[in-house]
Symmetry: C2
C-alpha cells in the first residue's frame, strides 16, 4: 500500500479504471425483473462480476420497471399549479406533478422549476423525464406521458446488489444514477441517486499529505464521480446504454446511502 492510500481509508482507486457499457439491455417494461435483465446482459457480454466492480444503472430503467409512468392527461392541477404554470410558462399538469414529488421550491424562473425532491435532492423538475417516457402499452390518445424518479433508489440499488453479490459470489456495488444540470456550470453530469455497497463519500480527514501535514478538505464524492464517469459512456441515450460497469475500485462494503451525499439544508449556502 503506497503513501497515497493510508490504511485507515477503506477505498483505493486505480491505478486503472475501466468504464464499460454493458450492451444489449432491452427496453424495460413495467414489472420487468431488473436483476434478471442485468444478469442476462452481463452474461451475453461475457462479463463475470468480481470484487470491487460497480454496476451503474440509469434511474430511468428502474423507474420504467417500477411503472413510474404518469399520464399528464389524468392529472388535475391545483389552483397553485395553475398559477405557477402560468407564471413559468409550463404545463400546469406537469407543475402539479413536480409539486407532488417535492417538499419545497428552491428556484423558479421562466421554464425552470428547481425543487427539493422528496428524496432530498435538489433537481430541476423533480427529475421528471419527458423524453422516451411512454409505456409500450400506452392506450392510443393517452398522454403525454412522463416518468418520475424511482420510488426508493437506495432500496433498488440494495436489492440489485444483494442479488448480484450472490450470483457472482463477489462483493460488488450498485449505483442508481441520473444526468442533471447544476448551478454555475453548463451541461449535465451524472449524479448518484441510489447507493449500495460503495462508500458514497470518501472521508480522508486525518490522512497525511506528503509534507506530513494533515489534509484539510478531504471529502471526495466517490459515488458522484463514478456516476459522472459512467454517464460519459451512457451519454444522453440513457435507454440505449442504461448499464455501465466500472472496474478498478477497491473498497470494503459500505452502508452509505445516497443521503450521505446531501448537504444538510441548514448548512447549504445555495439551497
Amino acid at each position: 500500500m503506497s503513501r497515497d492510500e493510508p490504511s485507515s481509508v477503506d477505498l483505493r482507486v486505480g491505478p486503472e479504471l475501466l468504464v464499460r457499457t454493458v450492451a444489449g439491455v432491452p427496453t424495460i417494461e413495467v414489472g420487468d425483473d431488473l436483476f434478471e435483465v442485468i444478469a442476462s446482459s452481463l452474461e451475453r457480454a461475457e462479463i463475470a462480476l468480481a470484487d470491487g466492480d460497480v454496476i451503474v444503472v440509469a434511474s430511468k430503467i428502474v423507474s420504467r420497471a417500477e411503472g413510474c409512468f404518469v399520464d399528464l392527461g389524468s392529472i388535475v392541477p391545483s389552483d397553485a399549479a395553475h398559477e405557477l404554470g402560468g407564471e413559468l410558462l409550463k404545463d400546469p399538469r406537469l407543475v402539479e406533478l413536480i409539486l407532488r414529488e417535492s417538499v419545497g421550491i428552491s428556484r423558479k424562473t421562466s421554464g425552470a422549476l428547481i425543487v427539493r425532491h422528496r428524496l432530498g435532492f435538489i433537481s430541476a423538475n423533480a427529475g421528471i423525464d419527458s423524453s422516451n417516457a411512454a409505456p409500450s402499452n400506452a392506450p392510443k390518445g393517452s398522454g403525454p406521458w412522463v416518468l418520475t424518479l424511482p420510488r426508493d433508489p437506495d432500496a433498488s440499488a440494495a436489492l440489485l446488489r444483494s442479488k448480484l453479490c450472490e450470483r457472482y459470489s463477489s462483493e460488488v456495488a450498485v449505483l442508481v444514477t441520473d444526468s442533471w444540470g447544476r448551478p454555475f456550470r453548463r451541461g449535465t453530469v451524472g449524479f448518484a441517486l441510489g447507493v449500495a455497497g460503495l462508500p458514497a463519500v470518501w472521508d480522508r480527514r486525518g490522512a497525511i499529505d506528503r509534507h506530513g501535514r494533515v489534509l484539510q478538505a478531504t471529502e471526495s464524492a466517490v459515488a458522484d464521480s463514478v456516476a459522472a464517469a459512467a454517464d460519459l459512456v451512457a451519454g444522453q441515450a440513457n435507454e440505449g446504454r442504461p448499464l455501465t460497469l466500472v472496474r478498478g475500485l477497491h473498497f470494503k462494503a459500505s452502508h452509505d446511502s445516497a443521503a450521505v451525499l446531501l448537504r444538510d439544508p441548514e448548512d447549504d449556502l445555495y439551497a
Copy 2:
C-alpha cells in the same frame, strides 16, 4: 455508427473508457517544463498517445511550474480583508489574496468564502490551495505558503496539447482540472478549468430519441465528466497522481475553452 451517435455529433464515447494514472511524475518546481515532464512520464509508463486520448493535468502542478506560490507573510491585508477575516474567522492575509484573485463574492459564512474567480468560475477560496503548497526552496521562517490557480489554464492546456500532438503525431486533448465542492451535495468532484481540443459541452440538441422525437435537455458537460472520472483515480493525492490518461473518446478537435462550461451569470439562478 449506431443510432445512439447521430452523425451530426462530433463526439462519441466508448463503448469502453480507460482512466489510467500516469505514474512517476516528480514533484514539480517553479520553472519546470511541464511538457517535458509529461512526455518523460508517458515514456517511462510506456504510453504512446493516440488520436482521441485525453491527458488530464491537475491544476496544482501547472500552478507549481508557473510559480503561483504566495507567502502569506508578505501580504498586507486591506481594511476590508481585515473586517471580512474577522467576520469569517479566516486569516485576513488569505482573505486579501482571495479578494485579489476574484471579481465578486458569491456567498460568505463562517469559514467559507465563495467567490467568482477572475477566470469566471465560482469556487471556495478562489481555488487557493493551502496544503502541500510551499516551494521546495522556501526560505526558513517564510510562509505560510499557499498556491493560487494557474494564470490561464486554457492557454496552459493549449500549449501542452500542441506539443503533445506534435510529439505523438496525434490529435489528443488536454484538460487542466481541480477538485472542488459544489452546492447541495457533499464531497469534491473534478472540474475542468482549462480545455484544449476536447468539446467542453456536448450539444446534442436536435438529436433524435428512440421514439423519433427530438431530444430536449441534451447538453452534456463532457469536459467536467472527464475531469470527474480522472479525479477519481487522482484522488486527493493530487501531487502524487497529478497526471491521468483517459482513452476511449472519439472527437473532432474542438476550439472550446473552459469558458464554454460557465453559465452566463445573468442566467444563473444560484450565483
